[in-house]
Symmetry: C2
């Protein structure tokens, strides 16, 4: 059974999953659909004006240590981006415009690394262009990313995510089952394997 | 290195950890201190008037399914108690009054099972008395539980938890490191083993 991987570029735990997922899924022979979406509108509809990690600072303080610890455990670099959360709108549009496949995955990983390993500002068009080029996406992807069609598709994906009960990132869906959090990645793949 | 297990009787994920922890810790030879505390005052100091699972219903809806799925995976019964969250004050006072040891652990597990496997109301004195007796706690534990000394100790434990940066349950502390969530149980024990 296919696993849908829902991620938001501003999300720290999405970074961990995006970097870990391809190797694990390949080893287990499970197909992954990469679904970029926006958490902002979903947070807003719950009355949250920013990341819960900013609204509840004691939780945020824990999150930074937790993500650093887990990144270390996976051999991934980690630094806290400034500001947090970053504006991932352009990156999400490019990921939406990119055709599903290896170059799309490389682009997403490049953005997450730029943001959370190198500390780049991912709202910067130059940064995203570099990621797209290095990933091997077609040169016109930057223009298509800001077309009405792609903007509309990203909005629809976000609305669909919310209808599926998604409220945070990363999330994984397998049929009707929803799994939330980087720490549910393995469980989601197990579910897909067991209900193949 | 010793692991401190911080739990709140009203907490669904604390139930999962309380049932899993003793066998895993014994197998690995790691000593656990059971630390009952109250989440209510900690939530209140963050401006939360109830469980975040009630304040953010979309998150609550997910939690019920997630806990059920994980309880099934561990061979544990699960039902949603009414009301949620339950008032765990008396149970926390009895667990505080009980001397550390096997009977204290049995009492805590009995309360969690009554609440989340059987659907009992744990604010009911009779229910807690039965759990205490079945666990083999001394008969005077119910009286000592409501003494000023025990009330004060539970308040102090809760204040100390908050000072340690604890904002949810279950949490695990190993020296200066904090781990939050049933899904960090193994990681906390790993940390204790690696930094013995």
């Amino acid at each position: 059974m296919k696993v849908e991987f829902w991620f938001e570029f501003a999300s720290t735990y999405s970074y961990l999953s995006a970097m870990r997922l391809p190797a694990i899924a390949k080893r287990r022979g499970i197909e992954i659909a990469w679904c970029p979406f926006l958490l902002g509108p979903i947070f807003a509809s719950q009355g949250l004006s920013s990341s819960p990690f900013n609204i509840y600072p004691i939780k945020g303080q824990y999150m930074w240590r937790d993500v650093e610890r887990r990144a270390n455990g996976h051999g991934l670099g980690f630094r806290q981006p400034e500001p947090f959360p970053q504006n991932g709108l352009l990156a999400a549009r490019v990921a939406t415009a990119a055709p599903p496949g290896a170059a799309q995955v490389r682009f997403c990983q490049a953005v997450f690394e730029a943001e959370f390993a190198l500390g780049c500002d991912i709202s910067d068009r130059q940064t995203i262009e570099t990621c797209a080029r290095d990933a091997g996406l077609a040169p016109d992807v930057m223009d298509r990313a800001t077309s009405d069609d792609v903007k509309q598709r990203l909005r629809q994906t976000t609305e669909y995510a919310q209808k599926r009960g998604i409220f945070g990132a990363p999330s994984f869906t397998v049929g009707d089952e929803l799994f939330w959090g980087d720490d549910r990645l393995e469980e989601a793949l197990d579910w897909a394997a067991a209900h193949g």
